[in-house]
């Protein structure tokens, strides 16, 4: 990816097309709307965007090579730091790949707890995202604070289970690190009992808001064909009307046992992407209720599983899950030694970001901010 404005083709001079000057603006890397260190090189004609180049890599920290130089176990805490809002789902993607590679079975109870923590993660991610998106639109603070108030309850659950609010480092290949106590499961039941009220209030707060409608409907449209061709996944793809959810398609873990619906959008605009998150939060709650009802007793990890010094047979495996942002995949190649020969992450945030220009062309510069917000990126995952 070219890094500088100067690398683009020369600017059309003033006067030769009757449109006036074209202005170049470098939005970011220190711009509050970019949610981190991300830059958009934008060319503007008046307020309209005629060219946009996403520039990333400011948070690159060699995640893949670090994981290749360490044992299989030592990569798990690093996966927490990919998408640092959703460490539980990141853990799951990685351990799923190692389990496929080494042929490890996971006990029933561990699978249920994985579903519970992953759906809690999805809920808190979407709540946070909607808050940030509204913040970008100018609803300063209030919706974000309400979202964070609920998110904090879920993070407290994570802390009492795994010891850390965000960097959970909770899953292990073959199961989990610690068991969830009956008291913890009861606490989860109490917390999720209060969450539907939160979603109702949240929707009432801004759903019918005329300003929100005007700013989001018909803005940043991502056509269905383009979304498929660009490899977009997750809520963004479903907002464009494509029925593709790895939980339904791949049925990893025990997702075939739960009844839930996959919400689909029609127009693929910012409003659809916003509503998609709200509807997915509701579906997550249905999955949580079913998982909490059916969770069996039993071990959480096979005691014979070798965590330290695991040497899978030479071969390769691809583990993929539906992370809150899209299809998160981990590709591993083993050469039979204690560390992976190749470790590759398929980051949904980054691949969803590649079509940013197509969504922003012809829109106002102020709308690029909310289009970016509706993509749902975390720079830790984009840059790795």
């Amino acid at each position: 990816m070219s890094g500088h404005v100067a690398d683009l083709e020369p600017i059309v001079g003033p006067g030769d097309n009757g449109l006036g000057d074209i202005m170049e603006v470098s939005m970011g890397p220190h711009h509050p709307s970019t949610h981190g260190v991300f830059r958009m090189d934008v060319r503007l004609e008046g307020e309209r965007v005629v060219r946009l180049k996403p520039v990333f890599g400011y948070l690159h920290r060699n995640h893949e090579k670090i994981a290749e130089n360490g044992a299989y176990l030592s990569a798990i805490p690093y996966t927490d730091r990919l998408d640092y809002l959703c460490s539980m789902t990141n853990n799951w993607g990685y351990v799923l790949a190692v389990e496929k590679l080494a042929g490890i079975q996971v006990p029933e109870r561990a699978e249920y707890i994985r579903v519970i923590v992953s759906e809690l993660t999805r809920f808190q991610n979407h709540a946070g995202l909607v808050g940030f998106l509204l913040q970008d639109m100018g609803a300063s603070g209030t919706p974000l604070m309400y979202a964070f108030r609920e998110r904090e309850k879920i993070l407290d659950l994570f802390e009492s289970l795994s010891g850390a609010r965000m960097m959970c480092n909770y899953m292990r290949f073959g199961g989990l690190r610690v068991d969830a106590s009956a008291a913890w499961l009861e606490e989860v039941r109490q917390v999720i009992a209060g969450l539907p009220r939160f979603i109702d209030e949240y929707e009432k707060l801004l759903r019918g808001n005329e300003i929100l409608m005007a700013r989001t409907q018909g803005v940043g449209v991502l056509p269905r064909e383009l979304a498929i061709n660009a490899g977009v996944t997750g809520p963004m793809l479903r907002a464009s009307g494509v029925n593709y959810d790895v939980r339904k398609v791949d049925k990893y873990g025990i997702y075939d046992r739960f009844h839930f619906r996959v919400p689909l959008g029609e127009h693929g605009d910012v409003y659809d992407r916003y509503m998609m998150r709200v509807l997915e939060m509701r579906e997550s709650l249905t999955i949580l209720e079913q998982a909490l009802r059916d969770i069996p007793a039993g071990p959480i990890i096979d005691p014979k599983t070798r965590l330290r010094g695991l040497r899978p047979k030479a071969g390769e495996a691809y583990g993929r899950i539906e992370s809150p942002k899209g299809e998160l995949g981990f590709f591993l190649i083993s050469d039979g030694s204690t560390n992976p020969y190749r470790y590759r992450v398929r980051p949904p945030s980054m691949i969803n970001l590649t079509i940013l220009e197509d969504m922003c062309l012809g829109e106002n510069i102020a709308d690029t901010v909310i289009i970016l917000g509706s993509v749902d990126i975390v720079l830790g995952e984009v840059d790795r």
Binding site: G70, A71, L73, S74, A75, I76, P77, Y78, D80, R81, T142, Y146, R149, E152, D156, E159, S160, L161, S162, G163, A164, M167, N169, R177, V178, G194, E201, K204, L205, L206, R207, G208, N209, E210, I211, L212, M213, L307, R308
Partner: protein, 215 residues
């Protein structure tokens, strides 16, 4: 009606504002330095070293096996093994760390050192107010700074500590029983063959018990 959505939203904001006076669910802010929330028991920040009894040197559980040093993902632990040995809690002669440093500016609080330690020697602390004005020495903790008594561990993680203590008591009882049977066997052997120098047998007996307990 145009503007209805905005009014509905404002009603919701008002409900949250006035609700915060009556419902604790809507008021979640804590005035931190004065008010503090209790930490969950599982809470973890940085590792510390455990010792039994009152002497941090003699009671230190770490035997400098260096497993944590190898398994630590960011490699923030530095251990140098001692030249001599000291007895551990079952009386077996073991090495001890001459140097045990943790660079907490590198540590990422992942708890893998705790998971891999076979000697229950390293555990996670829940102390989080660790700001310092010295960014090199202040964040480089030595063995002396890291050592904490078992009583401290019992106060911060009571459930975990109870499990660990139970397991260690069992190990100690087993080791004593094994030593007793080995000593009895050695004594019986010595009694059977009194002519072949019982002093030699007596000297090797403790070493044998040591190798049995390590398995």
């Amino acid at each position: 009606m145009l503007g209805e959505g905005i009014i509905q939203g404002l009603v919701e904001t008002a409900r949250n504002f006035f609700g915060s006076y009556v419902e604790t669910d809507r008021l979640t802010t804590v005035q931190y330095p004065e008010e503090r929330l209790p930490l969950p028991e599982a809470s973890r920040v940085f590792p510390f070293l455990l010792y039994d009894g009152s002497d941090p040197e003699a009671g230190l559980r770490c035997v400098a096996c260096q497993i944590c040093e190898k398994e630590c993902p960011p490699r923030c632990i530095h251990i140098e093994k001692s030249k001599d040995k000291k007895p551990d809690f079952v009386g077996k002669q073991q090495f001890y760390p001459a140097v045990f440093d943790i660079d907490v500016s590198v540590c990422m609080s992942c708890q893998i050192c705790v998971e891999v330690c076979p000697f229950d020697a390293i555990r996670m602390d829940d102390e989080f107010e660790l700001s310092t004005t010295d960014r090199f020495g202040g964040l480089h903790w030595t063995k002396e700074q890291l050592s904490r008594p078992n009583e401290y561990y019992r106060t911060i993680h009571p459930t975990e500590a109870a499990e660990t203590d139970e397991r260690r008591v069992k190990e100690l009882v087993d080791a004593r029983a094994k030593a007793a049977t080995a000593a009895a066997a050695a004594a019986a052997k010595a009694a059977q063959a009194p002519a072949t120098g019982d002093t030699g047998n007596g000297a090797t007996a403790p070493a044998q018990t040591g190798t049995v307990t390590s398995k």
